[in-house]
Symmetry: C2
Subunit: 247 residues, 2 copies
């Protein structure tokens, strides 16, 4: 299992081959074995295959080709709606309309999403996470008919791989692990940790293509900009309120 986890790659191009519902359901059933807060299972998964639904959702994922061309997308949602309905039907007074409950449900949701990915990759499927879900949660919720106390957290595309990309780089593992206490990074540590990434051919290409001086500037000025992050933050906080999680 370690070998398979160590060799994984994100797959963005898929064969034009359906992933049948039985396979999806079986993999999701496996994913639902993941740990869950108090065994409450605070999540739901919405499967998107229909061409019209994909067309509606595509702009919320910035029309990324990965999304547009994938045979299936799964939207993993933090869900207190089902649990609260159960409480109300059983003479119990739920107190889950708050931020902590949202956060716990989001954690539950991510455990399931990631277990699904490991299971799917183990069966020869490829997956790609779309970070766009937290940017456009409200629009996605509207299209998918999500009720109050349900918030989309992440979307993954799934399919049989039609590419075999190089594995991407990672920072040195020892720089991400702290023994007993967090050891903050000195300027020399930062230089050492990012040296390999900065020296990659792709990194130099990114810098040149974007007319930037450093790779970090590609992130701050092009890929993950302050103004966008601030707008999406406000929109997500407002949406959490609308969905009933910020009481």
């Amino acid at each position: 299992m370690l070998t398979s986890l160590n060799n994984r790659r994100t797959i963005r191009k898929y064969q034009q081959k359906e992933v049948d519902n039985q396979t999806l359901t079986q993999l999701l059933e496996t994913a639902f074995r993941a740990s869950t807060t108090g065994n409450m299972q605070l999540y739901s998964v919405v499967v998107t295959k229909d061409a019209k639904m994909k067309e509606q959702l595509a702009p919320t994922h910035f029309n990324q080709p990965t999304f547009v061309n994938a045979p299936v997308a799964l939207t993993f949602c933090a869900d207190y709606n089902r649990f609260v309905k159960w409480c109300e039907q059983r003479e119990a007074e739920p107190g889950y309309d708050n931020f902590l409950s949202f956060l716990n449900a989001a954690i539950d949701t991510m455990l399931v999403a990631q277990t699904f990915c490991v299971a799917a990759e183990g069966q020869g499927l490829g997956i790609c996470y779309l970070g766009t879900t937290t940017y456009n949660a409200r629009a996605i919720a509207k299209i998918l008919d999500l009720p109050k106390l349900v918030v989309p957290i992440t979307t993954i595309t799934v399919g049989y791989p039609a590419e075999d990309p190089e594995q991407t780089d990672r920072l040195p593992a020892d720089s991400l692990i702290h023994f007993e206490k967090y050891k903050d990074y000195t300027p020399a540590d930062i230089d050492r940790i990012y040296a390999n990434k900065e020296n990659l051919k792709e990194s130099k290409k990114f810098i040149a293509e974007n007319n930037k001086k450093t790779l970090a500037q590609v992130y701050t000025d092009i890929r993950y900009k302050k103004a966008d992050n601030e707008a999406f933050s406000q929109s997500m906080l407002d949406f959490l309120k609308e969905q009933g999680f910020m009481k």
Copy 2:
């Protein structure tokens, strides 16, 4: 791999056998292959083995025996500190002091935590997630010396299993999967979905032990109470602000 994922159990009792740092580092290195937002790797892991550190942390996890008796605990933290330091050292202006950036880092963190768990279980180790980390994030951060832009998201205990518990129940998979649109639950759906859980011997024992009428009341009145959730919500939101994530 599916069989191993399907048969997993949370392990709360461990043998008095060390989990060596080489094994932990190797498993974490595997976990760091998980997908990550823009390959930014927005997380850090703090390893707790030292008896004095465990003693300090124990109250933040409500002195749960699982924590107190585990040979190792890992605290997985959302971390923008390292990335922002890199940006600042490279003439780039970071814009990550906001809620969306926190959420993306928390998602990255959970992917790594869960991949670690799958890898560890695949190697014969047992794990248990502690939900207490989001309750007491500030206190944990103080003990672990976490700087600004670092927030603990979850803690897992790890060790060689000293028990072989029954597998816990799960809701019917089809009730958690929605095709194309979210299908909201009718009262009859709720009755059907929770029937098996409510009929379990353990559930009936919980109800009787706690002098409640329904299992849902055990959750709302004993295990996950409104007043606690609200207090922890406020404390977490305040802490996110202190850590620099709510600008």
